[in-house]
C-alpha cells in the first residue's frame, strides 16, 4: 500500500481546510495517510488532524518552531517521511509549503512538483498534472524516482465528509534552529480579516478603484459578504493593499465559490490566481476588459456607482 505523508497546514494555531482535502485525496487513491504537524503548542490539534483523515500523526511541537523557518521545518518533514516510509509527501498551497518542498525533495533524493492539480499512482509509477506557462496550458509529468514531493494547488482536491482517521501520535524531537538564517521578526498582517485561502467568497479590488476611497468602498462589500478581501498587483504596487492580499500567479491562488473582481482588468497573471473559482462576477467600466472573458456574470459600469447598489441588492436577497 502506498504511503502519503500530508504536511498539515497550520496558521495561527488553526488547522486549515487544505489538510483534510489532501488527506481525502490520498485515501481516494488508496494510500495509507499520515500527517506531519509542525509548530509550537500544536498538540491540541491532534484530534483535528485525525478527523482530517490521517491515521498517524507525526508531531514536531517546540517553542523554537513557532516562527516559520524553512530549514528546521524541512528537517521535521524529512524525519516524519523517513519514519513513515512515505512514497509521497504533499504540502497544501502556501508560501511555507513552496519553500520547504524542494528542500525535502533534495534531502530524500525525490522528484518535486509544484502546484499539482491531480496525481495518480499506478504500479509504483507516479504521475501528476499541473499547470505551466502561467496557467495557459497543463502538463502531465512523471516521476522517475520512487518518491515524489508535491505542493498541491489551492482548490485542486475536495475534502470528503465521509473520510476520517484515527489517533496514533508519534512525537518527533525538535531540530536545531538554522544558525545561518535567523528569523529576527515577523511583521504580522493578521488584521482579523478572513483568510483568503479559506474564504468561501473572495472580493478583490483593482486599479479601477483609483484611491483609498475606492478601496474602502470595495472593502465594505467584502465585509458585508464576510468575504476574503484580495487585490490585483496594481493596488499592491500602488501601496493601497498589503503584499499578502495579492491574488495571482505570483501571490495567492484562490478557488472560492464566488469570486468578485471589482475594477480589475484581468491580466493573465491575475487570472492564473483565480480562474479555479466556481463562479466569477466582474465589475468593470471597460466592456472589453479581459476579465469578462472568464466571468460568469459581468456588470459593465463604474464601480463607484455599481458597488453601493450591489451592497444594497445583496442585503435584500440575503435578508
Amino acid at each position: 500500500m502506498a504511503k502519503v505523508l500530508v504536511v498539515a497546514d497550520i496558521k495561527e494555531g488553526v488547522l486549515k481546510g487544505s489538510t483534510a482535502e489532501l488527506c481525502s485525496k490520498a485515501k481516494a487513491i488508496g494510500a495509507e495517510v499520515a500527517v506531519a504537524a509542525i509548530g509550537s503548542s500544536i498538540e491540541p490539534l491532534i484530534p483535528d488532524l485525525a478527523r482530517a483523515g490521517s491515521d498517524t500523526q507525526y508531531i514536531s511541537d517546540d517553542p523554537g518552531l513557532e516562527a516559520f523557518s524553512a530549514g528546521p521545518y524541512a528537517s521535521c518533514v524529512v524525519e516524519a517521511a523517513r519514519q513513515f516510509g512515505a512514497d509521497m509527501i504533499w504540502f497544501g498551497f502556501s508560501e511555507s509549503g513552496k519553500a520547504v518542498a524542494p528542500r525535502v525533495a533534495a534531502q530524500l533524493d525525490a522528484a518535486c512538483a509544484n502546484e499539482i492539480t491531480d496525481v495518480t499512482l499506478d504500479a509504483g509509477r507516479i504521475e501528476v498534472v499541473r499547470p505551466a506557462f502561467t496557467n495557459k496550458v497543463v502538463q502531465r509529468v512523471k516521476a522517475n524516482t520512487d518518491k515524489l514531493v508535491a505542493v498541491v494547488r489551492a482548490g485542486a482536491f475536495e475534502a470528503d465528509e465521509g473520510v476520517t482517521g484515527s489517533e496514533n501520535v508519534v512525537k518527533l524531537s525538535a531540530p536545531a534552529p538554522d544558525a545561518k538564517a535567523v528569523v529576527k521578526q515577523i511583521i504580522s498582517d493578521a488584521t482579523g480579516d478572513i483568510d483568503l485561502a479559506d474564504a468561501d467568497i473572495v472580493v478583490s479590488v483593482g486599479r479601477g478603484a483609483k484611491n483609498q476611497e475606492g478601496v474602502d468602498l470595495v472593502k465594505a462589500l467584502a465585509k458585508d459578504l464576510n468575504a476574503g478581501f484580495g487585490s490585483s498587483r496594481a493596488m499592491v504596487d500602488g501601496g493601497f493593499m498589503p503584499h499578502n492580499k495579492q491574488v495571482g500567479q505570483t501571490g495567492k491562488i484562490v478557488a472560492p465559490s464566488l469570486y468578485i473582481a471589482v475594477g480589475i482588468s484581468g491580466a493573465i497573471q491575475h487570472l492564473a490566481g483565480m480562474n479555479g473559482s466556481k463562479v466569477i462576477l466582474a465589475v468593470n467600466k471597460d466592456p472589453e476588459a479581459p476579465i469578462f472573458n472568464v466571468a460568469d456574470y459581468g456588470i459593465v459600469g463604474d464601480l463607484f456607482e455599481v458597488v453601493p447598489i450591489l451592497r444594497e441588492e445583496i442585503k435584500k436577497v440575503r435578508g
Binding site: A105, N114, A132, Q139, I187, D296, V300, V317
Partner: protein, 260 residues
C-alpha cells in the same frame, strides 16, 4: 562582495500558447527574460551601485541567449556566462541546480540571487535546490534585501502570516519576487557598451563537469505531454442602467448560481 545571478530565457506568456499532439507549438512563440530573473538582476545591480558588489550572471540552456545576456549587461551586470550542452536538453530543476552548483564553486561567490520561479515551468525549485546542494542558507520569496556587513544581509520574505525578517550569514542564496523592485530599462549608453562585452560561452566539459556528474541522463521528473487547459468562457455580461443591471445580476447570483 561577489554576486551571482541566474537568468532564464522563457516563452512570452502574454502571447497565445498552442498545443498540438502533446507538445507546445513552437511557431509564433517569442522569448523574453524571465520576469522574476529580471528582478534578480536589478537587485544585483543595485547592490553593485550601493555596496560595490561585483556582479556575474549565468544562464543555462535555452539556445542563443545573447540578447538576454546583453540586456542584463545594459542594466549594469559586469560578467556573463552561458552554459549550453546537448546533454541538458531534458534537464529538470535538479539538473539545472547541479550545473549552477558547479558555476558557483568555480567562482567563490558570496551571494546568489535568482528569480523565485520561471514563468514557463512555474516550479520555483532551482534556487532552493541549489542552496541545498551547496549546504547554504536560503530564503525564498524575498521582497527586500539590506546589506548589514560583508558577512551578513537582512532580507524580507513575504510569508504566510506576514513579512518575515531574516538575517542571513553569507554565503547564501535568495530567490526574489517581482515585487522587490522595478527593473530599470536599459539606456542607450548601456546598450552600446553591452554590445562590446564578451559572453563566456561554455559546455559542461569546459565547466569542469560532465553529463553524468550533473545527472543529465537521469532527470528526476519528465514531462509526458502538454494539454490545453480548460478555458473558462465568458458568461452573461450586462450593460446599461447601473441600478437595473446590478439588481438583475444579484438575482442571478442568488437564484441561478446559488452562491449568495
Amino acid at each position: 562582495m561577489k554576486i551571482l545571478t541566474t537568468v532564464k530565457k522563457v516563452v512570452d506568456v502574454e502571447l497565445n500558447i498552442k498545443v498540438n499532439d502533446g507538445a507546445i507549438v513552437e511557431e509564433g512563440l517569442q522569448y523574453v527574460i524571465n520576469a522574476w530573473d529580471e528582478s534578480a538582476v536589478e537587485a544585483a545591480v543595485q547592490m553593485k551601485e550601493n555596496h560595490g558588489a561585483e556582479t556575474t550572471l549565468v544562464s543555462v540552456g535555452g539556445g542563443d541567449n545573447t540578447d538576454v545576456i546583453r540586456r542584463c549587461y545594459a542594466m549594469g551586470i559586469e560578467n556573463g556566462i552561458h552554459i549550453e550542452d546537448p546533454a541538458l536538453d531534458k534537464a529538470d530543476s535538479s539538473i539545472f541546480a547541479k550545473v549552477l552548483q558547479k558555476v558557483y564553486e568555480a567562482g567563490n561567490y558570496d551571494l546568489v540571487i535568482t528569480g523565485k520561479q520561471a514563468q514557463d515551468t512555474d516550479s520555483g525549485h532551482t534556487g532552493i535546490l541549489l542552496a541545498e546542494y551547496l549546504g547554504l542558507p536560503c530564503v525564498s520569496n524575498v521582497i527586500g534585501i539590506e546589506v548589514i556587513d560583508e558577512q551578513h544581509i537582512s532580507v524580507s520574505r513575504a510569508g504566510d502570516s506576514g513579512t518575515e525578517i531574516v538575517e542571513l550569514s553569507l554565503p547564501a542564496v535568495v530567490t526574489v519576487d517581482v515585487s522587490i523592485n522595478e527593473p530599470r530599462l536599459p539606456q542607450m549608453r548601456g546598450i552600446m557598451m553591452a554590445k562590446k562585452k564578451k559572453i563566456e560561452e561554455m559546455d559542461l566539459a569546459a565547466l569542469g563537469t560532465s553529463p553524468d556528474e550533473v545527472g543529465a541522463g537521469a532527470p528526476k521528473s519528465e514531462i509526458i505531454e502538454f494539454m490545453e487547459s480548460e478555458k473558462r468562457k465568458g458568461g452573461q455580461k450586462f450593460e446599461g442602467d447601473a441600478a437595473e443591471i446590478t439588481a438583475k445580476v444579484v438575482q442571478l447570483l442568488a437564484d441561478e448560481a446559488k452562491v449568495l
